[in-house]
Subunit: 333 residues, 2 copies
């Protein structure tokens, strides 16, 4: 990615902690931060069902510090936090279905551990600059499109409720305790280093695996319209949010260049791949109950406040992602 | 209280569980339910800092069942839930200040235990009719007055965030898992059996104690305007919410007859008591940070949907409350 001026120097020599740093977005962020001269420490639990993968930092093992640790385990938190300048807080349980079948695990990670982490910041490093990865899921089924930050918050699954609480804790600790935090509400993010073994992180992951494996892509529903942020654009938003003074205490949507139906997305993927096919299947009942229908975000607030906007089209994002997995797929299965 | 027709017969012979049933509202609810012929089981942990007090069910000990138990303790929940027809879910940590100094305890009670309880309902008694006591605190500082249910939810303390999550879990389990639940957002509730030992439950409690003890009432700030629901009116709302078919899956504000500044409230209390005085003090800094300013609610939705409205004026409420504590004060210190 090209690195815009605002934060090109801001991370040089700075100590940066990334929870979930072996995951999809966290590892892309870590790679960029290493390039920018930061001293990066990654916390990741590498739970097999989640997004962490050591391959995500391949080649950088000596340029950053990896610590196997789960955000639920509180005892080492003070030591991790002391002396850090930035915390990118990306560790989370992201599966909507899992949050319904095992709601308490989702609560422990997305809710309780976040509060513990913020308490530790307050006590041990209250000036730590925090950026929290939240999700469009907290809006629930949109009343209107595109969805801006003023849209009512009506999560439709346990994951959405707990992420909402996690987000609110960050804003509260920023406002009341002065721990300077920013919340980014991510939409679908795609790109190299996402989980492609299955659909647990994003359905686009399993699509990539299917098309590279010579299987038809399975599209559930197909009419739902969504937007997609390419991971390099998302990384840029995190870096801007961490360094821009107007970001403190703020909540910002990320978004994509345009939006497409899932059927159109599948068509584009087949076109970009130059091979493969897709088939449309009806939605499983348990998913339909918590599906939010169409969603795409209005991200004008972050553009006007921080100067960020998505730059990578869906076609470009799919092209780059496919190129990565054509080489790397065996390391992600 | 006079018992309106809609639920006069609905509880006869029905099994009713009340969490926090030795507390202020819970015990008033229990007393009415016993009169209506229900088989009432109370769960309460009697934590000294919270609202529970055995005196609250004085005289009824043989007409209902009291079980010392904390909602955080999950193992006995299935047994409590089996065979019940109604659950009035009032157990909670209610102190805003405590939620800031000990946020994880607040989370355990108001967030985690609620999810565990609902999971137990889903597994062991999915048709149980649930009414959850939520709070105006989840609105935060009002954008407009009076506050209706469409007002943005922006809690200003950990208690508000966790109560919001607790509320959302109830609505989700109602919608997705079919556990029929209703959420009532309570404003300040006052009346016999409230905690008067200190200001931990409501500042009106300590005012009652001060005036009966011959001390001046201490008014913090004084200009804030608030509404007050008399506890009998609140009990009626819970009973209606539990029995009205249009209440399932709904969220309703409670409110009071009119609204007053805290200074006016103190004047009224002194007038009703025929004795005493008040003095206005400036707000302590730690409270100011999480104070919400003026609040009073628009409760037209519950009036139009369920036919409930508050009937007891603030003056009547203070008169009845004072009369109770003139006799009962020693049992509440």
């Amino acid at each position: 990615m090209s690195l815009p001026t605002p934060f090109a120097q801001a991370f040089k020599g700075q100590r940066v902690l990334i929870t979930g740093g072996l995951g999809f977005i966290g590892s892309n962020l870590a790679r960029t931060l290493v390039k920018l001269g930061a001293q990066v420490t990654i916390l990741d639990s590498l739970i097999p069902e989640y997004g962490g993968n050591r391959r995500n930092v391949h080649g950088l093992e000596k340029k950053l510090s990896i610590n196997l640790s789960d955000v639920r385990d509180r005892h080492s938190l003070p030591e991790f936090l002391r002396g850090q300048h930035f915390l990118f807080n990306l560790a989370g349980q992201t599966s909507h279905m899992d949050s319904m079948s095992d709601p308490e695990t989702d609560l422990e990670i997305n809710c309780r551990a976040q509060l513990t982490l913020l308490e530790a910041c307050r006590k041990h490093n209250p000036k730590l600059r925090v950026v929290f990865a939240s999700t469009r899921q907290i809006y629930g089924r949109p009343d209107y499109l595109p969805v801006d930050e003023k849209h009512p918050l009506r999560p439709v699954d346990v994951n959405g409720i707990n992420k909402l609480a996690g987000e609110e804790y960050h804003l509260l600790y920023s406002q009341v305790h002065g721990v300077p935090s920013t919340v980014l509400r991510l939409t679908n993010t795609i790109g190299p280093r996402m989980r492609v073994k299955d659909a647990r992180q994003t359905f686009v992951g399993i699509w990539i695996r299917q098309i590279l494996g010579g299987q038809p892509i399975e599209v559930w529903g197909g009419a739902q319209r969504r937007d997609f942020t390419y991971v390099d654009d998302a990384v840029e938003a995190f870096l801007l949010a961490a360094t821009h003074p107007d970001a403190v205490g703020g909540v910002f949507n990320l978004g994509g260049v345009g939006q497409v139906s899932l059927r159109e997305l599948a068509e584009t993927l087949v076109e970009v791949a130059g091979e493969g096919s897709y088939r449309v299947r009806s939605f499983p009942a348990d998913r339909r109950k918590i599906d939010i229908g169409d969603y795409y975000s209005d991200c004008r607030l972050i553009e006007s406040t921080l100067g960020w906007k998505p730059r990578t089209t869906i076609k470009q994002a799919l092209t780059k992602t496919l190129a990565y997995y054509r080489k790397e797929l065996p390391n992600y299965l």
